[in-house]
């Protein structure tokens, strides 16, 4: 079971989901994540699961709603335009407190945009996206192996918090071939789901709903959701500090960009510059504290994103003016090279001197 397999990120995510007990997948084709649905279409029947190609992402997300409400581990995947179509459903899923996993392999937008990698759905993923007060938990892998581990974790977190969890990647993460291993958890997490819809046999009926016309009741529910999310904020912050102990300059990046930043850091260190990386793994909850602590010691933080500047707002919020926050981006499907990051850091280093 633990021998290494050479797999593309998308397929690795699909296999990880199956091994995490996912038994239903609903989706609609869109590049660059088609391999997930294609893999599920033959893999799920092998384990007695259900793969269904829906008529749209709108239908997909409500099929997820139905299957999650029926008590199974369920997943959908898409890319930016399709994820936009799902926003209504994600809001309903959050409101009904249904556990599910949603993969977004981001492509450049807005609109139809392009099919090349992007990180321009950060706001949509981490701040709500649909209407109403809610958050998904958002995990951002930077390697295929991490995609496997985080996908497995995502199903546990979804069950634990009864909340949708998003795996946020991009075309690079999805297409990259890497050796991966699937380690099933020693103690698989089994959630008690007494609220599911299975037919009202020998028990009062269960109702999965989101309409609460009495504001007194809805406020209670909203506050309970707030409390639940605060609990997740307390327990589920994940990040990787990479060579930051002695760093004078810290790069902040996630996913594909973080990978590239690691290469840049090697080059910069060879040039004698002390540079590190603080890599958020959970984008919601965001590692505010880790950045705040870094800002106590480090004067310059360089945020690199494939967006016009989205995560940088959270970094600024975290450092609260204590260090200078620089920003570098490539957008529209262009991926920053390590040379560009090296040059950007050298520029900052000169300014500091």
């Amino acid at each position: 079971m633990t021998e290494k397999k050479f797999m593309a990120g998308n397929e690795a995510i699909a296999e990880a989901a199956v091994q995490a007990g996912c038994r239903c997948y609903f989706g609609y084709p869109i590049t660059p994540q088609n391999e997930i649905g294609e893999y599920m279409s033959w893999r799920l029947p092998q384990v007695g699961g259900c793969y269904l190609q829906a008529e749209s992402e709108v239908a997909s997300i409500y099929m997820v709603f139905g299957a999650a409400g029926a008590g199974t581990r369920v997943m959908t995947s898409s890319s930016s335009p399709g994820i936009s179509l799902m926003q209504e459903g994600i809001s309903y899923i959050a409101a009904a407190e249904l556990p599910c996993v949603i993969v977004n392999m981001m492509r450049a937008g807005p609109g139809l945009g392009g099919i090349q990698p992007s990180q321009s759905d950060y706001f949509q993923a981490t701040k709500g996206g649909g209407h109403g007060d809610y958050h998904m938990l958002v995990l951002a892998p930077h390697t295929a192996q991490e995609a496997v581990n985080l996908t497995m974790l995502a199903f546990d977190l979804a069950d634990k918090y009864r909340n949708p969890v998003m795996i946020l990647g991009d075309g690079n993460i999805g297409q990259m071939m890497e050796p991966v291993e699937f380690k099933s958890p020693e103690k698989p997490f089994v959630a008690r789901k007494e609220w599911i819809v299975t037919g009202a046999k020998n028990r009062p009926r269960n109702i999965i709903k989101t309409l609460f016309l009495d504001p007194v009741i809805l406020e209670k529910r909203n506050l309970a959701m707030g409390a639940k999310l605060r609990e997740a904020v307390k327990n589920e912050v994940r990040f990787e500090p990479y060579m930051i102990e002695d760093a004078d300059i810290v790069i902040a990046a996630y996913g594909t960009v973080a990978r590239i930043a690691k290469t840049a850091i090697k080059i910069l260190r060879e040039k004698g510059l002390k540079v590190g990386l603080l890599r958020p793994i959970s984008l919601y909850p965001f590692p505010y504290q880790a950045f705040a602590q870094t800002a106590e010691r480090v004067k310059s933080i360089l945020v690199v994103e494939m967006s016009l500047g989205q995560m940088v707002e959270d970094v600024k919020l975290a450092v609260c003016g204590k260090s200078r926050v620089h920003f570098y981006c490539r957008v529209g499907g262009m991926v920053p090279s390590y040379d560009e990051i090296v040059a950007e850091v050298e520029k900052i280093a000169k300014e500091v001197k």
């Binding site: 269904l52 709108v58 409500y62 369920v74 459903g89």
Partner: protein, 250 residues
């Protein structure tokens, strides 16, 4: 044959007053569906997906497990549920805005897939819950709050016959249009609902029962007038009867 209630409240309906207006078709339709569920003895394995519309609160009345959908998405939710638990009897209950406008894609594709679920489609030719705006099923010339001088095809298009459309799909096994405008029609309606559920239970495919239903409130009529309006205005455009029955019945 199993025991069936002929009078009195069906077991599947909870003993609570409903929020429907006097003379509204929803209440009668609820009762018919509940009687069929009782008759088939399937209450404990039945799941209803409520729509957005006047019937959004129907889970307050039906003593079965339930989902409340977003506007138009009930067939997708029913699909997700049924695929997880094929032994359940799953039905959606949807108005004409829900089924024939915002949810048309889901309505067509649940039938195209031959999903083994049942839809109770309540066509009252208006948007009831939001105050009587034009529905996709509003008749030509019919006055609503958004067609104040009557629906004109030049600007508002033509009323849509969902049952005829769905009946063309191979995945749809049973399709019928019924009304609750007379005791005879009520009896036929009940038979249609029963056949629709049986179609699902036998695994023959998708089943749809379209009810022509009264909305006295937004039609600005008395209950008696609205029943007459169904027969005189709606039935000529939306003919009653079975449009499709499962092959095994031929």
């Amino acid at each position: 044959m199993e025991m069936e209630m002929v009078s009195g409240r069906p077991k599947t309906l909870l003993p609570v007053p409903t929020h429907y207006c006097p003379g509204c078709g929803h209440g009668v339709i609820h009762r018919l569906v509940a009687e069929v569920i009782d008759g088939l003895g399937i209450r404990e394995k039945t799941v209803v997906v409520a729509p957005v519309g006047c019937a959004v609160l129907l889970y307050n009345y039906f003593d079965v497990d339930a989902y409340e959908a977003a506007h138009g998405r009930a067939p997708a939710i029913a699909t997700g549920c049924k695929r997880v638990n094929p032994e359940l009897v799953v039905f959606t209950y949807q108005g004409d805005g829900d089924f024939a406008a915002i949810g048309t894609a889901e309505a067509v594709h649940v039938a195209a897939r031959g999903e083994k679920i049942t839809t109770i489609f309540v066509n009252n030719a208006v948007y009831g819950m939001t105050g009587g705006q034009m529905a996709p099923t509003t008749l030509l010339g019919q006055k609503t709050t958004t067609t104040t001088s009557g629906r004109a095809s030049e600007t508002a298009g033509f009323p849509i016959r969902m049952s005829e459309m769905i009946a063309t799909l191979p995945g749809a096994a049973y399709v019928a249009r019924v009304s609750v405008s007379s005791p005879k029609n009520v009896a036929q309606a009940k038979m249609a609902v029963r056949k629709a559920f049986e179609t699902q239970i036998k695994g023959l495919g998708y089943s749809l029962v379209e009810f022509l239903s009264q909305c006295p409130t937004n039609w600005h009529m008395t209950p008696v007038e609205s029943v007459r309006w169904v027969e005189e205005q709606m039935v000529p455009y939306y003919p009653l009867g079975e449009l499709k029955v499962p092959k095994e019945e031929y």
